[in-house]
Symmetry: C2
Subunit: 187 residues, 2 copies
DNA sequence: GATTTCATGTAAGACGTTACATGATTCA
DNA sequence: TGAATCATGTAACGTCTTACATGAAATC
């Protein structure tokens, strides 16, 4: 039974907010998506793993209008494992990032200027959407007061906002560059 | 013979700067590392793939002081394949990113404040180093004049700089938050 | 009647990393 | 003498995604 960083992501989510896989997926989408996206199927895999390890316990909860769900919560052993992992060596788990739009910009000399401009616009719009969503999260958490564990959730949302703003500024910068040179050569 | 995005990253690198695997690795480190990191072994794998596909041709070059190297350059078929890929549907190849430090911040309630502060400092220093490296790249490219294919390389370096600056600002923000609340509880 | 929400999982495979393996030359 | 540079690859493994599979209830 091996555990990866994703195991601890899910364990962290469960710690914050116990619930079914379905619930946790929704929570993950609002919280960790912009710095540690996780697929639905991996989520369920990790929940099973957590239960096998004794780090979370699942309980079947009957509902009358909806299917029975399995609600997970962290066990004391799970909390201990999480803290030990966090305390352990910074684990040079390299910051992975792949940005297809930046790649396309890099390969710009091979693209039509209009097509690149389209991609940049789409990218900017995505970043604007993300910024808006995360701003809502921050506002919502601010309404709860300046203390408590959601301070940290707020901090990670701020990270996404700052990155999104950098992305928006960058797309505008590149667009300005494209506009400045009006030669539509593809080669 | 399947080709992934990484295949086209390497093909793009070869297009820009023909050379040996070793040369290309060095170039990748200065150019695409911050938005599409690639391991050395994957590089060699992709170069073999490119040759098998007929998208790049490798030629053995003898050297007297150093081992013989295999120099690659893109073929016309490779250029065509690259352009077709770039022209094809924006390929919802999701922007992958995993940031361990942001994750640790999210799990802040389970960490000692000092340990988190250490990680944030290390992260900020890494971002500062990256910003400095990329600033050098930009300055270097600016010295070559405002036109030519390196405009795009400059643009992608600018991306890294803006992201690094956002990261630096964020770590300072979080550090200020930690400093504001002097309760060293770990639970 | 169609779509969305709720709910959970498996199986196959793509993708990418680390560790292993080798060895000459140059420079301090 | 030791480290760094130059140079290339394989093998094993870990990680994660997509597609597949199912099905009831609620809402439009």
């Amino acid at each position: 039974m091996t555990s990866s960083a994703a195991t601890f992501v899910v364990l962290g989510l469960v710690t914050r907010r116990p619930g079914s896989g379905y619930d946790i997926a929704a929570f993950a989408d609002r919280s960790v998506r912009h710095f540690w996206p996780i697929s639905r199927s991996q989520l369920y895999t990790e929940l099973s793993r957590l239960e096998e390890l004794g780090w979370a316990s699942g309980t079947a909860v009957l509902q009358d209008r909806y299917p029975t769900k399995r609600v997970y919560e962290a066990t004391p052993a799970g909390l201990a494992a999480l803290r030990q992992w966090l305390d352990s060596a910074p684990r040079q788990h390299r910051q992975r990032m792949q940005d297809p739009v930046v790649l396309r910009t890099f390969l710009g000399p091979h693209m039509s200027r209009d097509r690149l401009a389209d991609q940049l616009r789409a990218h900017r719009e995505q970043a604007e959407t993300l910024r808006a969503e995360l701003s809502d999260v921050v506002d919502h958490l601010d309404a709860k007061g300046p203390v408590g564990p959601h301070r940290f959730g707020r901090a990670t949302a701020r990270y996404g906002i700052l990155q999104a703003e950098a992305t928006i500024a960058w797309t505008q910068e590149v667009q300005a560059m494209l506009d400045a040179e009006p030669d539509p050569e593809t080669g």
